[in-house]
């Protein structure tokens, strides 16, 4: 009996030993951007010629925009076109994977386009070069003048396929375009594509404009301007150009923002040195008071589910960030660090709140969790504020001002963007000086 037990025991020990699989933990990798080759889209020979559009160059132009978009993310490294071995027309049919692997590419974008009956048809394919297989293939049809948007939509689809996150290229940014000396600034509302192209001015610059904010539905914009010498919240329909003052308030209203469903506007209303937070329903025009406190409550921003509101208040002495339920109950202070906190904005993902912090004369843009923990300061500068989230909650856009010399010389205000990791800080090109940016949601959603 003993022998049998010993035999059984040794059998189990030996068999378990023999079957043990080597396990290796891989906890680190490289942070290098993914090398990607964007082959110029092949233009079909049967394509029609158009008067105001060079169809032959359209393939290269579209792929250039895709490359620029990828480069701006800091997550991809678009490889130089001169190194490509295979021609676009053949590459789109069947890429020679060895040729592309030779230039160290890990992903490849190929495609073709044609113009027929005044309609632009674009096809693209994304290839995984290490697995030698197709990852995604899509086709779009639109008017030929809309080719830039096609490039942005393709970028979004590829970005989503490779990172798992929604893209943010087919979006627009509204901002305040500034010109003139510092003490006599002319401020206009301006809108542009996220890459700085197609700038359009929405106001003439007769009145001061501040803090434009997009409606999540993209049709409307709310901002602050002056009405009978009082700062008031305005609504503007971008499509029709129709403007109106929001609500019949007896004092000044400011710091407006839309609710996540786009049906309400939340803003501050100031009277007799005290300001509180109010909402207004855009359909019923019903006004509702949210906070009632003797302190200055301002800069409200909804959480993406609409259940909570973050705002800043000086009720504890210094200006700090608070979170409350959307009906104004359960107010909770979330910042306790040294310095002043302002302009809180809830991330579209819901996990983070972006803010501006002022400490020892320096301005910081940072993010923290919605309970105030995990504060991370992403960038420090002489003057910067007003962060706005990209629709996927990955990138922040904000503006930065430079120190001005005597008589306002050397002063400038520019838009910048930064990844929430704190990497990839970039200046966004604008035609004029710019401030107060607000990022739209995806246009093609």
């Amino acid at each position: 009996m003993k022998k049998i037990i010993i035999l059984l025991f040794t059998f189990f020990v030996v068999s378990s030993h023999a079957n043990a699989l080597i396990k290796v933990d891989i906890t680190r990798g490289n942070l290098d951007p993914l090398p990607i080759a964007v082959s110029p889209l092949h233009v079909e020979k049967t394509s029609e010629n158009l008067e105001n559009l060079d169809i032959k160059k359209l393939g290269i132009n579209i792929s250039s925009i895709i490359e620029k978009n990828f480069k701006s993310t800091g997550l991809f490294n678009p490889l130089k076109r001169e190194a490509f071995v295979q021609k676009p027309d053949i590459a789109h049919l069947k890429p020679r994977f060895e040729d592309w692997r030779l230039i160290k590419a890990q992903a490849l974008v190929t495609g073709k386009l044609s113009v027929k009956n005044n309609k632009l048809k674009v096809e693209f394919r994304l290839w995984d070069l290490t697995a030698s297989k197709e990852m995604i293939a899509l086709s779009f049809t639109t008017t030929p003048t809309n080719w830039r948007r096609v490039a942005h939509i393709i970028s979004d689809k590829i970005y989503e396929r490779l990172t798992g996150e929604e893209g943010y290229f087919d979006t627009r940014i509204i901002y305040v375009a500034e010109s003139g000396p510092k003490n006599q600034r002319v401020k206009k509302l301006a809108i542009m594509d996220q890459d700085g192209a197609k700038t359009k001015y929405l106001t003439l610059g007769n009145e001061l404009v501040l803090t434009p904010r997009f409606n999540p539905s993209n049709q409307m914009v709310t901002y602050l301007s002056y009405f009978r010498n009082l700062p008031r919240v305005y609504l503007l329909d971008i499509e029709t150009g129709k403007q109106e003052v929001v609500g019949n308030f007896p004092g000044m209203t400011f710091a407006p923002r839309f609710s996540p469903d786009g049906k309400k506007i939340i803003m501050s209303f100031a009277k007799d040195g005290n300001s509180d937070i109010f909402t207004m329903d855009l359909e019923t025009r019903k006004v509702e008071r949210i906070t009632e406190h003797s302190s200055i409550d301002t800069s409200p921003s909804y959480s993406p589910d609409g259940k909570y509101i973050c705002f800043n208040s000086d009720r504890s002495g210094l200006q700090q960030i608070y979170v409350m339920k959307s009906d104004g109950s359960n107010v909770k202070r979330i910042t306790f660090g040294n310095g002043i906190y302002g302009t809180p904005v809830w991330s579209p993902r819901g996990d983070l709140i972006a803010f501006t912090k002022v400490r020892k004369g320096k301005f910081y843009i940072g993010v923290m969790r919605s309970d105030g923990t995990g504060e991370r300061l992403l960038t420090e500068n002489f003057y910067q504020e007003a962060p706005s989230w990209s629709p996927n909650g990955r990138v922040l856009v904000f503006y930065r001002e430079t120190k001005s010399g005597a008589q306002g010389k050397g002063f400038s205000a520019k838009l910048w963007s930064i990844d929430i990791t704190g990497y990839n800080e970039r200046k966004i090109k604008t035609e004029t000086d710019a401030s107060d940016p607000s990022w739209s949601s995806l246009l093609s959603k």
Binding site: A20, D25, I26, Q106, D128
Partner: protein, 268 residues
């Protein structure tokens, strides 16, 4: 009444004075213990698999011979033997060496080569020292950080006992894959994303078969981040082919599991 009040005040005052005097002595300094450093049990191969470079081999042989000589002759070590092997040679010494070579070989042919190599060596020596210092510092910092975070993985210990793959072999493989794996930086840092990849390898380290252990999770709705991570892991091993595997013991490492965990990287 006044007397008793008087005594009471005196006794209370005495108590207060005594307490004030004695309490500071009662407080003890907190014991400062050195941090606990965990000791890992690891199995290291008896002989290193890395072949010696010819130069290094010569130096080792030379050192061995000198050591032998010192023991047998009982003579004080010569000036040369005292020198550290990694000491940077002085420019004068280099010149001497060059001259010797010049004498031996055709000066016209060799001249530029010697100059090139000597300059290169000089630079290399300086750089390697600097880099080594940096690496050491980085290692120290990393080790401290790991102790602090209490995140020391136990896979090394497990493997060395369970499978017989030595630490140096495992490290070589791990280092190789580190270089090939482009971590998708867009992944959320607060989600459980661990991709377990099972590989069947050929003797030369190329991949015969690769399989994501939880592959059904890849096509589930709401698991797109998992899919992205799994694809990046597959890309990494394919890029790394052939994997750096030991020359012997094929049966042991024929099947291998790689656990890709990006959490540490994503948290920054």
């Amino acid at each position: 009444m006044t007397k008793s009040l008087f005594y009471s005040i005196i006794f209370h005052a005495m108590m207060i004075v005594l307490t004030a005097l004695s309490l500071p002595f009662m407080t003890r300094d907190p014991i400062s213990l050195p941090p606990i450093v965990s000791v890992e049990l690891i199995q290291i191969t008896d002989k290193t698999n890395i072949p010696f470079a010819p130069k290094a081999r010569k130096i080792i042989d030379k050192v061995k011979k000198e050591e032998k000589r010192v023991v047998s002759e009982q003579a004080p070590p010569s000036a040369k033997a005292k020198e550290k092997p990694d000491r940077i040679p002085l420019p004068d010494e280099k010149k001497e060496k060059k001259e010797i070579i010049k004498k031996k070989q055709n000066p016209e042919e060799i001249k530029p080569q010697i100059r090139q190599s000597s300059e290169f060596e000089k630079e290399e020596l300086i750089n390697t020292n600097e880099i080594a210092a940096l690496i050491d510092k980085a290692k120290e910092e990393r080790a401290l950080k790991e102790i602090e975070n209490k995140k020391l993985t136990q896979s090394n210990v497990k493997n060395s006992f369970a499978t017989g793959l030595s630490l140096s072999e495992e490290d070589a493989l791990r280092a190789q894959i580190f270089g090939c794996w482009s971590v998708p930086l867009g992944l959320p840092y607060d989600k459980d994303l661990l991709v377990r990849l099972k590989l069947e390898l050929k003797k030369d380290g190329t991949i015969l078969k690769s399989e994501i252990i939880d592959h059904q999770r890849m096509n589930m709705p709401g698991q797109k981040f998992y899919k992205i991570l799994a694809e990046s892991a597959l890309r990494a091993v394919r890029l790394c082919q052939p994997l750096k595997v030991p020359p012997t013991g094929y049966e042991k490492w024929k099947n291998i599991q790689l656990n890709f965990d990006p959490t540490e990287m994503l948290k920054g």
